[in-house]
Amino acid sequence: MREPRDYDDIPGTYVFDAEQYRKGYHLNMFCMSLNKVESRDQFRKDEAAYLDRFPMTAEQRQAVLDRDWLQMLRLGGNIYYTYKIAASDGLSFQHVGAAMSGGGGMSLAEFRQMMLDGGRPIDGNRSRGEQRYG
């Protein structure tokens, strides 16, 4: 259905386009609800019950319960939305970035050190044809 896009070639990157928007709508709107402190409290108290309020797919629901950040992106999550779950857990963007790194994840310390060393290098990470996540 979807036409190929030139950004499909960027490795390890989930461009939040119309397809992702449509796929992830309810997942992201659940995340949005966590902007309210009462909602965060209710979510923390009983995650499963809270998630029942949102018409997500079973896969999306499981990814939230598992805090599987990459899986959430695959299922239409947007990082600014899904990060609200992490924030509610007391995690920083560096925790989440570390967990997603390279697919298998890195430790927080490794990720921090990579950033201190200048960040993940762009060379080797521009396109799927290159070596990935380098």
Binding site: Y7, T13, D17, V37, F93, G118, P121, I122
Partner: protein
Amino acid sequence: MAVARLMVIAAGVNKDMARIIAGIGTSHIPAIGAAVDNGKTGEAYWQPLMNGIKPAREWMKNTRPDVCIIVYNDHASAFSLESISTFSIGVGDVFPPADEGYGPRKVPVVEGHSELAWHIAESLILDEFDMTMVNDMPVDHGLTVPLTIMYDQPDAWPCKVIPLSVNVVQYPQPTGNRCYMLGKAIRRAVESFGDDLTVAVFGTGGMSHQLQGERAGVINRDYDLKWLDKLVNDPESITGINHTEYMRETGSEGIELIMWLIMRGAMAANINEVYRFDHVPVSNTHYGLTILENRL
């Protein structure tokens, strides 16, 4: 008196009208707000950044614009997938700090300039920009962190603020060219407002960063700095950069840089870059800061 007035007009500035005196480009990384709010700026990690922004704060104390137009993006705080506007302008009197999922920042409430904001909105729409006017909205780190960077921790922000929110989260974002043209139209709008006001325009976000995916943490400092040189000296050479190039070269969130093009468009063709600073890393990003003044 009449002679002095004529000279001012000859220099292209009418002292009875509002005028844009400066442009500021700065990243708006939420971790900076958290470090300042929680008193952590003394930590070694924050020293390079705190030292780098000190001269900018000095410059701001001397410059004191009456109004700051802050071009930023909302990060699922005021706006959600229910409704995504390409360009929104805040026309209200007051904008409270947003709860982004961990409680609102303890910073002063942001005061708007409703009259100037409406004047700009009208001028932009008659200039064929398809604006959204928003009265009631909270403002998130995209807007409040740049204020913290430039003003530190005052009891009240020393300027009125007009929030100009750009969609950079949902593909497709506006084109770089459209952003640059919006900046030019903002300049026409400000300069036709009949009040003696000095205005600074902030372009915020960037520089290279990617928060998501297997490639999280990618940084491309060389690209950023070359891009910044062109932004200062030859902006039209970069208005054609497309979305894919920004995402590929500067990370999926690096595309926030298009907001700096709005700021640049609002400045004169010839400007002085009076300050520049950059640092890697701040959180997962390449922090960048530039201060531009219109050359008279």
